[in-house]
Symmetry: C3
Subunit: 259 residues, 3 copies
C-alpha cells in the first residue's frame, strides 16, 4: 500500500490511516509517497503519482487522498491498471498517472460495510480509503468494492504543441512543476536534431541543453532532461525558479534544427 495525501506530517491524520491499515491487514508494508503537497492541490498529487507509482511492483494498492470534496456526493474510484489498484476521489487526480488506454477497469467504491463506523464526513482517508486499501491488500477482489463506474474525470499533464517550419522544429509548452531544488519541469520532450535555443517566461533565454546539472557552469541556467523525460530549467547548485522567477504555468518555447 502506498499513501499520497495533503495531510502533512504535523497532525495525526496519516498516523490514524496507518493504524486502520495495520488493524485490518497486519504485516502489509505501507510506503509514503508524500504527505507534504500543497493542501487541495490535485494537480501536484497527480504529478507525484505519475513520478512514483510506475516504479512499484504489480499488485500494489496506491491510495491518493487529496480531496476537497470530502463528505460531498463526489465518488471514490478504484482504477485497475498495470496490475495494480489506484484508489482516489473522482476529481481527475488519477489521470496524471494513468492514461485512458492503460485503465482496465474502474469501480465506484460503495462497499459501506467496509467503511469505519461511525463514518465521518470530514475524514474519508481514515474511514473509507484506509480500510478499503487494507482489504484490497489482504486479497479482496476489486468487484467487491461496488459497481463499475460509467463516467469519471481524468485530468492530465497539458500537451506541448509541436510545429515544423523548414528544417526547424518548435515546441511550445509550459512549466508544469517546480521541485525542492528549484528545478522547473516543463511539458517539453527532447527532440531529435540539434538544440538551438529556448525562451522561458517570455524573457529568459537558454542556449544550452546540458547532459546533467553538474555539466552547467554554476549560476547559468540550462535545460536538462529531467527524470520523467521532460526538459527542466535548472541552475547548477542553485534554484532556477528563485533565480529566474519561474512559476507553474509560465510559457516555454524551444527550437531544434533537424536535417
Amino acid at each position: 500500500v502506498t499513501l499520497l495525501t495533503d495531510f502533512g506530517t504535523r497532525d495525526g491524520y496519516v498516523g490514524a490511516m496507518k493504524g486502520v491499515i495495520a488493524s485490518i491487514a497486519p504485516g502489509i508494508p505501507v510506503v509514503d509517497i508524500s504527505h507534504d503537497i500543497e493542501p487541495q492541490s490535485i494537480r501536484r498529487a497527480g504529478l507525484l503519482w505519475a513520478q512514483a507509482t510506475p516504479y512499484f511492483p504489480r499488485g500494489s494498492i496506491h491510495v491518493a487522498v487529496v480531496d476537497p470534496g470530502v463528505g460531498s456526493r463526489r465518488k471514490i474510484l478504484a482504477f485497475s491498471a498495470r496490475g495494480s489498484v489506484y484508489l482516489a476521489p473522482d476529481n481527475g487526480l488519477a489521470g496524471y498517472a494513468l492514461q485512458r488506454r492503460a485503465i482496465r477497469r474502474v469501480v465506484e467504491v460503495r462497499c459501506r460495510e467496509l467503511f469505519l463506523e461511525p463514518l465521518s464526513d470530514t475524514f474519508h482517508g481514515r474511514d473509507i480509503f484506509a480500510p478499503v486499501a487494507a482489504h484490497l491488500a489482504a486479497g479482496m477482489p476489486l468487484e467487491k468494492l461496488g459497481p463499475a463506474a460509467r463516467t469519471y474525470r481524468l485530468e492530465a499533464i497539458p500537451r506541448a504543441r509541436r510545429r515544423r517550419r523548414g528544417s526547424t522544429v518548435e515546441l511550445r509548452g509550459e512549466v508544469i512543476d517546480v521541485d525542492r531544488f528549484g528545478n522547473a519541469t516543463t511539458n517539453l520532450e527532447p527532440q531529435p536534431g540539434r538544440f538551438l535555443e529556448a525562451t522561458v517566461a517570455s524573457s529568459v533565454r537558454l542556449s544550452q541543453l546540458a547532459r546533467s546539472y553538474a555539466a552547467a557552469s554554476p549560476g547559468s541556467p540550462v535545460l536538462v532532461v529531467g527524470s520523467m523525460g521532460y526538459l527542466e530549467v535548472a541552475v547548477n547548485l542553485e534554484s532556477a525558479a528563485d533565480l529566474l522567477g519561474l512559476r507553474v504555468g509560465d510559457p516555454i518555447r524551444a527550437t531544434w534544427r533537424v536535417e
Copy 2:
C-alpha cells in the same frame, strides 16, 4: 511500534531510534505518527496520540518522546491500556489519549539493564525509549520494566461547560488545536436539537453547522463535526485560522434549541 516525537526530520535522532529498534527487534514494523510537532509541546503530542493511537491494533507499543525533562529525575512510564502499551515521560502527555478508567496498569521504567550504554542524559529516546519499546515488541512482559507507579500526571483536553436555559442549550469551550488546513478544532461536542449559532474568539459569528467542508460556500466560515467528534471552525478550501485569526485557547460559545 509507533513513534511520536518532537525531534523533527532534519536531524538524525529518529533514524538512531529506528536503528536501535531494528537491532533489538528485527522485522518489527515501526510506524511514524509524527515527528513534526512543535518542540516541547506536550499538549500537541497528547492530542496526536488521542487522534491516532485508537486506530492501531491491540498489542501495539506506542512511544511518545516529547520530553523537556530529559536527564532530570522525571520518571518514564509504561501504561497498559486497551490491550496496548503506551510509553511516555511522566509529564501528563498520556492523559490526552488515555482516560484514567481505561488504564489497567502503570509501571515505572527502571530496567537499567535494558538501556543503551553509555546512557546519555540528553537523548533518552535512543537510549531508553527505543530499547524498552523494542523489548516489549519482542514479547517482554510489562512487569520486567520496573515497579508499579504509585503517582503519575495525566493532562487532558479541557472540558466544555454545558448550560441549559429553557429550550436552549449553551456550550462554552475553547479552540484546542489548529491543523495543517487551518481548521480550528474546539472542545465542543455536537448537541441534539437545532443548532442556532456560535461565537468564536468573541467576535466571529457562525450561523451554519455544515455536514462537510465542501457543503460551505467558499470563503464563509462554518462549523463542521471534525474527525475526533468535536466541532471545528472551517472555511471551505481556505484556512479558517488565518482568515479569522484563530489561535489555540480562543473561547467559543454555541447554542442549540431543544424541544
Copy 3:
C-alpha cells in the same frame, strides 16, 4: 536498507526510490534517516550518517544520495564497514560516519546491468542507488558491483586542538551543527578535571557544564554533553542558536583545571 537524501518529502523522488527497492527486493524494510537536509549539503548528510548508522544492525545497506555531481564522471562507491554496506557518491560524505581504519573494502559501482533503463543523468538515486541497494539487500555480494576503488575522498568532522598549560587544559574547536531545537553541537569532547569556562563565537561566555538541558535555569546558556559525545551549547526550553546568534563554523574555546 536505510535512506538519507536531500530530496525532501514534497516531491515524488523518495517514493520512486522506494518503489524500485520494493520491486527488486520485496519485503525488505526501508527506513528513512532523513530527506530534509539542506539541498547539496554533503557535510550535514555525513553528520546524520555518523549520528544514526551506528545504531542499525549489521547487514544493513545504508544509502546516501546527496549528490551535486549526479550525471558527471564522479564515482559511486560502496564501502564495507562494521558488517554493513555504505553506498554514497565519491564526494567525501562517507568519511563522517566511517573512519579510514573501520573500512574493510571499497568498491566502485559499475554494474551497469543492474541500473534502471533508460538511465537518466539527473536521478541516479532511482536509477542506480535504489536498484544496487536492493540487490545487495537481497543477498548480492559486494564484489559484483565493480572493481576495488583505488582512491576515494573522505571528509570528516574537523578535530579540535588541545593544549595543556600548567594545570589548565584548553580546547579550541568550532560549532559543527545546529539541530531542530537550536542546540549547537561543537567538536569539543568533555575533558577529565574541573570545567572552568568556555567562550563561543568570540563573545558568549558559558560558565556551566550541565548534566542535562533541564538542569539549566531557563534562559541561561550552558554546555551539555550531547548524544554524540560532543559538547553542545544549549538553552533549556529555548533555541541557543537563535538566542545567541550561533552558526556552524563559529569558534569555541573551553578550559578545564586538571590536577
